[in-house]
């Protein structure tokens, strides 16, 4: 009863003198309640629990039989009871956003006193029917912050007096609702902030993974270097380079259409495909065709990748590359001339049928001491200090000015002009250079760079190589026995014991079978050439055919858990030999398979 004569909220700012009500209940009672609620909201980490406590306090303070707090869902379509106190438990109950008195109150954003619900057409009797409770009167105040509807607090059935809510009750409830609304709003904002931070952290993680996909920088005199500055956290650009076991260097640079996470994921996929396939598919045109087919098969509609991929041979200075719709690479030759090398094929991921035949066209270029630059349009379209774009002209100027620097210096000189660190980048900047100046020196000294094997090993091996056997037979099954006998005798001659001889025979026999069955498709009119080379530490078997080049990736060991007839041959080869590899196809076509069997050290090897 004490609350019934309380002063409306708007009167709460009256001078202190008006604070004491006639019944001796000071006005700051409900101010205290408001303050306590506010503090609870502010200090609690659990907004739901705070709301529940608030509803309890309000219901008790306004002397109602029950109270409930409803919140609108994200879409504003349904009202759900989040906290409730009283004889019936309706937490979790959902209503349509305009259902019942609480719905009306929320929609109109006006507080209401309904003294007799039976006379109110908007009253939703469904809840009473379900719970057996009898609602007589309702007091309801909306919760909203800055025109944003949040929900409402509803009180049911005044206990004392005539059992009717009064105007002053509504004022008080509205004040409390406003406080609760603000708390909910703040909690939601805090939650959104946490979510934003979580996304930012995940983006940072994604960026870290992306950076790990880029190759580590080589030594200062390594002929290939790249640089990538992302405009956002993650990048749709990529570059890569890695040495092949024959001393050549496989390289690529690409740009995925679009920006953001989807571009970054596509970048990760393409870069991984390149690195993986690039180790076995040694022709850039074929490699690009393979990646194109793979991307076309799984790509999201509308995404594509422009890309240059190729192989550089430091020992000759020759670069072979294929350009799939990418910006023309710039070749700065040793005489200070520039040559643009435009794309001859569409970007990857557009259509597998766009490219004639199975391969992307290749460009061969002898660098002869020059430098090849491959870059994304983020570089040429990047803004200079004066606000103009760098453009190809500007890039050429920078390249000329910094021609004396080493390859990393050359790249940094360009990047520093576009990314001065004073403003956000317009687009990702990615630049790769192949500088033939270093290998030129090495060529004269006869060395080799960028090989995983040390140069000495290569030289030593080369010195001590001896061709023990060289034979050519027709691609006929009845000649396999000849080959087996020759191989067996040769291995025995090199001191291999019986078991090793037998293993080697199995591997070579299976390799020859593959040639007859797969490369020549069973035709007896082909030729197979076998060369057995003895090194100090190994026997090398070079098996050559003159059939159409086969798809290397289709020749892989089978899964032995799945035992079905056929296809075991490759598995035998890999089991027996220490190294089995398809080499780059010889200039005049065909396939070249190299198998290496290490010889165990021992005096018997000398026999």
């Amino acid at each position: 009863m004490r609350k019934r004569q309380s002063v409306s909220v708007s009167d709460a700012s009256l001078p202190a003198g008006g604070g004491a009500g006639q019944a001796g209940h000071p006005i700051y009672d409900h101010l205290e309640l408001l303050a306590a609620m506010g503090q609870d909201f502010a200090s609690s980490g659990d907004i739901e629990a705070s709301l529940k406590r608030a509803v309890e306090h309000i219901t008790e303070y306004l002397d109602a039989e029950g109270g409930a707090l409803f919140l609108l869902d994200d879409k504003g379509e349904t009202l759900r009871c989040h906290a409730c106190i009283g004889p019936t438990e309706i937490t979790g109950l959902t209503l349509k956003c305009d259902q019942g008195i609480v719905g009306r109150c929320v929609q109109n954003e006006i507080g209401e006193i309904v003294r007799d619900v039976t006379k109110d057409a908007g009253f939703h009797a469904g809840v009473d029917e379900q719970t057996g409770f009898t609602t007589r009167s309702i007091l309801c105040a909306p919760m909203s912050v800055k025109d944003q509807r949040i929900g409402a607090i509803e009180l049911i059935n005044k206990r004392g007096g005539d059992g009717l809510f009064e105007e002053s009750d509504l004022h008080l409830l509205q004040a409390m609702s406003a406080s609760a609304a603000l708390a909910i709003h703040n909690a939601r904002q805090a939650e959104a902030l946490v979510e934003q931070e979580r996304i930012a952290r995940e983006l940072e993680l994604a960026a870290e993974i992306q950076r790990s996909l880029l190759p580590e920088a080589g030594a200062d005199d390594y002929p290939v270097a790249g640089v990538n500055h992302a405009a956002r956290t993650v990048s749709g650009d990529f570059y890569d380079f890695f040495p092949l076991d024959d001393g050549r260097i496989c390289f690529t640079l690409g740009d995925v259409s679009g920006k953001g996470m989807n571009a970054a994921l596509m970048m990760a996929k393409t870069a991984s495909l390149y690195r993986c396939l690039g180790k076995t598919v040694r022709q850039p045109g074929r490699l690009m065709a393979r990646i194109n087919a793979e991307i076309c098969e799984t790509t999201t509609r509308g995404m594509f990748v422009t890309m240059v991929g190729g192989i550089y041979d430091p020992s000759t200075g020759i670069v072979r590359f294929a350009n799939a719709g990418h910006e023309p690479p710039l070749f700065h030759d040793a005489e200070d001339n520039f040559h643009a090398l435009p794309a001859e094929a569409p970007p990857l991921g557009i259509s597998p049928a766009l490219v004639d035949g199975l391969e992307f066209p290749e460009t061969e270029l002898k660098l002869d001491g020059g430098t090849l630059y491959i870059f994304t349009d983020g570089v040429t379209e990047g803004y200079l200090e004066d606000g103009r774009e760098l453009e190809v002209g500007g890039l050429k100027r920078l390249i000329r000015e910094n021609a004396a620097l080493n390859v990393k210096g050359k790249l940094n000189a360009v990047i520093d002009c576009v990314d001065r660190g004073d403003a956000a980048l317009r687009d990702d900047l990615t630049l790769l250079a192949i500088d033939d100046a270093v290998p030129l020196d090495l060529r004269t000294s006869g060395g080799s760079v960028a090989v995983e094997k040390t140069p000495q090993d290569t030289l030593k091996a080369a010195e001590e190589e001896e061709i023990l056997l060289s034979l050519t037979v027709p691609s006929q099954a009845d000649r396999l026995k000849l080959i087996r006998n020759a191989v067996s005798e040769t291995a025995r001659f090199c001191g291999c014991d019986k078991d090793v001889c037998r293993d080697i025979v199995i591997a070579v026999d299976e390799a020859c079978q593959n040639v007859i069955r797969h490369a020549y498709g069973g035709s007896p009119n082909g030729e197979i050439s076998l060369e057995i080379i003895r090194r100090s530490d190994a026997l090398v078997f070079l098996l050559r055919d003159f059939a159409e080049s086969i798809d290397v990736s289709s020749v892989k060991p089978r899964d032995l858990d799945d035992i079905r007839p056929g296809g075991l041959g490759t598995h035998f080869m890999r089991e027996v030999m220490d190294d089995v590899q398809f080499m780059p196809p010889p200039a005049d076509g065909g396939n070249l398979l190299r198998m290496v069997k290490k010889l165990s050290k021992g005096p018997e090897n000398e026999t």
Partner: protein
């Protein structure tokens, strides 16, 4: 490659001899499948097989599968060192029932 088939009381014994390779494995396959098709246990004697390649192994696997499908038995007996090495490389030495001698094989199929 040559082969010899003899009917024992409890099984058909088929002995392969020589190299089972790309050249001869189609013959070996036919012989083995014929024997398996007779619905009696089959012992494959590999004691005189000097060399067997993946296509020969494939014929053995196919015969084993055919036998199993019809509830029949196929046992390898007296496997030569060379053939055993190939079976090991293929990890098939655990898939086949392998007995040291023809007699052991016959005992095996009687069980």
């Amino acid at each position: 490659m040559k082969h010899e088939i003899r009917d024992e009381k409890d099984a058909i014994v088929v002995a392969l001899e020589g190299d089972v390779d790309l050249q001869s494995s189609p013959d070996a396959r036919k012989v083995l499948l014929d024997c398996v098709g007779r619905k009696r246990p089959v012992l494959v004697d590999l004691s005189a097989v000097g060399y067997i390649d993946s296509s020969g192994v494939a014929s053995l696997v196919e015969s084993l599968q055919t036998a199993k499908k019809s509830g029949n038995t196929l046992v390898l007996v007296a496997v030569s060192e060379g053939a055993m090495r190939v079976l090991q490389l293929a990890r098939l030495d655990k898939v086949f029932t392998i007995c040291d001698t023809v007699e052991d094989g016959l005992k095996q199929v009687r069980q």
